[in-house]
Subunit: 474 residues, 2 copies
């Protein structure tokens, strides 16, 4: 039994992806080119991600703020690299009401400029530091090719921006936030990730360096999933974020920023989902259990209600499908929308003192005695499912992880099966460009403690400096 609205993942991955988005009703295309409508199920996923991540941010001493949507052109231009990086892809507001503006304003593609401007007003002394702020908001980048959740002109994200007294503290923050992203991806999204440093070519415009979280999708294509940037004093100097230091001398702050976006929803789909629709790790699923009464008799509904209440009492989120649709339709609905656990109860089950539990990921059915502790049964199943989903994703990633020693090997591999390619690199941008000729292969990151695979750059054969992970990216 396969969901007919969904193209098989092995037949056409791109089509499969958009079919899942549509069939699970996560998002709809809008009348606005390159922008999507987040439908209730898609937005509920984002709310789950937000609530878990926000707690992690707050527990590490971050506070939420909100900066303006629009950035005046002159403010945007103060730090040269940033504007150069973003100029081709910002949207410009030129008219307010019926009047042309004196200065055009861009819709934020990212908010380093506004945070820096704000910090320059409020930071006066080392006593004011650090300031560790974050905002959840919409941003806009005028992309040409778009795809729901993965790349759209408008997207939702969080962007953290911090200012510190010392280089050490700022670098520690950059690293700490990378760690939080890694933990979040692995513990909640059940997606194994690799972390490392971006090359000069791939780093964020204006950053001294960029740390990144990289994940591999089911098809071996990779996804830059979250980034954490260390700015040094670059923005502080451009925007004059100076303060009286402990020696009563004027110093510039050290700064970081870090962000993650609604593309995480795309990652969840592309790592875990299947030909029957969405598959969600229990820890991030907005609804964890679907109870389907086979008949809607009083006797069945009474039991259904009892179980629902029991599960809800320990914080498990439950939906009861008491619509007048057929049981088969309800099963398919719970399946396509990725509800981790499905409980089916009918008259016959009741007579036999049992119910049927189906796990969404394996689609395995288990009979559960009504006399058993249903809370523990469901919690254990969810726990196992969360772990197994991570392990399966990790096994697949490891199976698609390769080591190459020369360009020919990279070429062969990428044509056969793309994935993470581990290979040495001399540090020369020309070699990165050469690599790109192979189906767009790019450096994903430099491994910080990467072992030496060999001594030669995979491209030019000269002396290698870095152990780099390469991949084709979304």
């Amino acid at each position: 039994m396969k969901n007919k609205a969904i193209t098989s993942r092995d037949v056409d991955f791109a089509k499969w992806y958009t079919d899942v988005v549509k069939a699970a009703r996560l998002a709809d295309y809008s009348n606005v080119k390159g922008c999507i409508v987040f439908e209730p199920r898609g937005y509920a996923l984002w709310e789950m991600i937000q609530s878990k991540m926000d707690r992690m941010f707050k527990e590490t001493g971050h506070q939420n703020v909100y900066m303006p949507l629009l950035i005046p052109e002159n403010l945007m231009q103060k730090e040269g690299e940033l504007i150069n990086g973003f100029a081709p892809e910002v949207a410009w507001v030129t008219h307010g009401g019926e009047k042309e503006l004196e200065e055009r304003l861009c819709i934020r593609p990212t908010s380093e400029t506004l945070f820096s401007d704000y910090y320059s007003h409020v930071v006066n002394s080392y006593r004011d530091l650090p300031l560790k702020y974050n905002q959840w908001c919409n941003v806009m980048r005028w992309e040409k090719e778009t795809r729901p959740f993965l790349r759209s002109r408008e997207f939702l994200w969080q962007e953290g921006h911090t200012v510190h007294e010392t280089r050490e503290e700022a670098e520690e923050e950059t690293k700490k936030m990378l760690g939080i992203y890694k933990t979040f991806f692995e513990d909640y999204l059940a997606i194994p990730v690799i972390t490392g440093k971006k090359t000069e070519k791939e780093k964020f415009a204006g950053a001294e360096y960029t740390l990144t979280v990289e994940a591999m999708m089911y098809n071996g294509i990779t996804l830059q999933s979250a980034t954490s940037h260390y700015f040094g004093q670059k923005f502080a100097k451009a925007y004059d974020i100076s303060f009286k230091d402990r020696n009563n001398e004027l110093s510039y702050c050290y700064q970081t920023s870090w962000g993650s976006t609604t593309r995480m929803i795309g990652a969840l789909i592309m790592v875990h989902s299947d030909d029957n629709g969405l598959v969600l790790p229990p820890k991030i699923a907005p609804v964890q259990v679907a109870i389907v009464p086979i008949q809607m008799t009083d006797k069945v509904m009474e039991k259904v209600d009892e179980i629902r209440k029991e599960l809800e009492s320990v914080g498990i989120t439950v939906t009861v499908d008491d619509s007048d649709k057929s049981a088969g339709y309800k099963f398919a609905e719970a399946e396509v929308t990725g509800i981790p656990i499905r409980l089916e109860i009918g008259e016959r089950d009741l007579d036999q003192g049992k119910l049927v539990l189906t796990r969404r990921d394996t689609r395995e059915k288990t009979e559960v005695l009504l006399s058993s502790d249903i809370i523990t049964v469901v919690q254990n199943e969810m726990h196992t499912m969360q772990d197994e989903m991570f392990n399966r994703a990790k096994e697949r990633r490891d199976a698609f992880t390769f080591t190459c020693h020369n360009l020919e090997e990279v070429k062969c591999q990428m044509e056969k099966q793309p994935g993470f390619i581990h290979a040495m690199w001399c540090g020369d941008e020309a070699c990165e460009l050469k690599m790109k000729e192979i189906k767009g292969t790019k450096s994903r990151c430099i491994l910080e403690d990467g072992e030496k695979i060999d001594h030669h750059c995979v491209v030019c054969g000269k002396e290698a400096k870095y152990h780099v992970v390469w991949g084709i990216q979304y």
Copy 2:
């Protein structure tokens, strides 16, 4: 002892307001004209408002979604009244990257157009109805005069948009959401409100009618605080939101929308705060208790920590000011930021087996025995404070509520002390315009079950149809 950074409320109310915003560090002016920076304390208040309201929305069957920020001009124009209402105050995007757009896009001033367009795609049958969606987002209106929280070019809000099968159901929804706003204002914000219907002149562009929640500020000026609109089939016809009804015939949906904004933060300030800064009702305060150790000795800090843990164990939010500032400074800080309850503990208190509790609103100090049940003491104080804040606001509102029978009386009253004026109205727009000549007095709302004050329109003296509440508005 008065906060020197704050102008006295009775000397200059407008200056007092912005002084409180600054002193409590709720918001900062930005480099973007008419837009503010929500600083951590201001944004935390918004997060509190969001979490409480969002729960009320979800409990009444609403789901969150997210629509695009930008609206194509042609989509905006489909319903004529809406675009006419908003055209003078929308911001237009004309360029994406370096290219001029074929069609300009406006930044949403409100999202009826996008929701209607979406609903027209997904509603096919009466079985699809109702759809009750809400979104939390930023919107933009190109205002000329701005004031933090009360009126700014960009603001944050929630906008609910629902489609229904029948007129009755949609009208019920319009009314129900007004009720939720009223409950929220009174129960959480401790602000008494009056509700009623807007006049034709004052209703939302495109609505059949608008219901409104109106509040009075400390100075007698009124604030439109939330609105709920009934659209009938207007948008459904303009955007073709049609469906097969129960008789298998094509029908148009009945629609509503309802919204409330960050101006609620402005209302909180202008109703409750005083010359020492912010005063927050305990139910909406992001931090409910500030514990100030008078000395930072081990003995004191141990007790402080014990009390903090105890209070936190029942969900009370606590901050401990263990900075190296003076106790006096810490008191002022807790006061200006509006923390409802302050607990002071010093060596001498410990020896005497007591602590000092100060309520922010009355600034009354009570000695509390350390042997007493501190949780109950604090909960009771907060409960009383919440009630008394509401009652004080209601008493003041009632004291500034007047009944007038002719224009001369209105004029006298508005010159002496503005407030809510109850007066009869004939229903003629010319009379509303005449009223406006008195210091900008406008109709706030028509009372649905308003008693007849007399038989004559307060302006023209002709036969009166409606009992209207009038006021000068922010």
